[in-house]
Amino acid sequence: MKQVLRKRNPTRAPCVGPLMAEASPIQSTVYDGSLAGLLSVVFSVFNEQIPITRLVRAHRYAPDMFTSPIQVATNSEYARRVWDGLDRFEDFDRELVLRCWLFDTTQADTDIAHLLVRLYREGCDAVQDFRDEAIFRCEQIRKKMFREIHRTHAFVRFAEAADGLYFARIEPDFDVLPLAIEHFEQRYQDQEWMIWDDKRKYGFWFRPGMPRSERISSADFAAGACVDGSHDLVTESESSPAAAHEDGYQRLWSTYFQSVNIAARANPRLHRQHVPVRYWRNLTEKQPDPTAS
């Protein structure tokens, strides 16, 4: 009897189910919530053979009566090895890891850890295996974050404060500021500016001559470790001290928008699609004109 041996195609990733099947999916792996912590979990999967379960950031962990969580301590050396190891996968975009981590949900953390484990086990082909739901969700997160970064680039409106600092307030759906900030660093190198994420209570502060912007949080303000006038800008949203000529520039900007608008071609639905209403609060051109009445 002739035996037919099927040779596996080495270029194609094997169809494997979710790695979560190796353990109870409702068991939690708790880490400190940092990127280094997430990468330490991936390291532990290989080093200590821990199963991939639901990855929960420590501040979100709810006590569990039935199962005890797996605790993974952050180890920067291990994290560095995982991060540097990604260099060998030329087709893999490391920004995907950042995007999923900044997406800041338990599912995104779990999915990206799952993706990294598969990447290390099976190579770059695994990242394209969209039959795997976790990998498919990572791809969706990539797109969602891309859109939000693009909108952040477009919808930042600076206002000049009394001390010459250009200040902008944003409230993106996802934590995209660390990924979007490079665009502003390259574009506005000769000005002092700050972009503040009002939802997550932190921002980036750039001063001319600095190579990169500095991350500032509410705690830094409380400790008095920050700029003069911007403290009021961040904490007192309604009564921020603006530069004397700022009102004039804002009126000019609004007038520009009114002038280029063709009323006969107004399409509010399309407009809301391109400029969602949730961004209007921080857009100069969407503020009511005080001189209109």
Binding site: I26, A62, P63, M65, F66, T105, T106, Q107, D173
Partner: protein, 85 residues
Amino acid sequence: MSTFDFYSYLNKYTPELQAKALRLAAEDMDFARELYQRTATRAMQEPSDRFSAGTVELFVDNLMLSVLEEMRQERPEAMSSGARS
């Protein structure tokens, strides 16, 4: 834009859900553990567009009741030991 998923729900409501399972299992710890694990595992397998932050509680309650029913059929002795209807 909603970023709701069942994992986030579990982060917040694990104790509540486990207490519910324990109540339905009439304080039988093993029965409650399995009831909770099956419910949570099944909820995780559902696509996240099946429910939203507003409807997830109803969804999970229904799921838990159907799992309870299933477990009762598997183990009729649980009926006699007091798992509630």
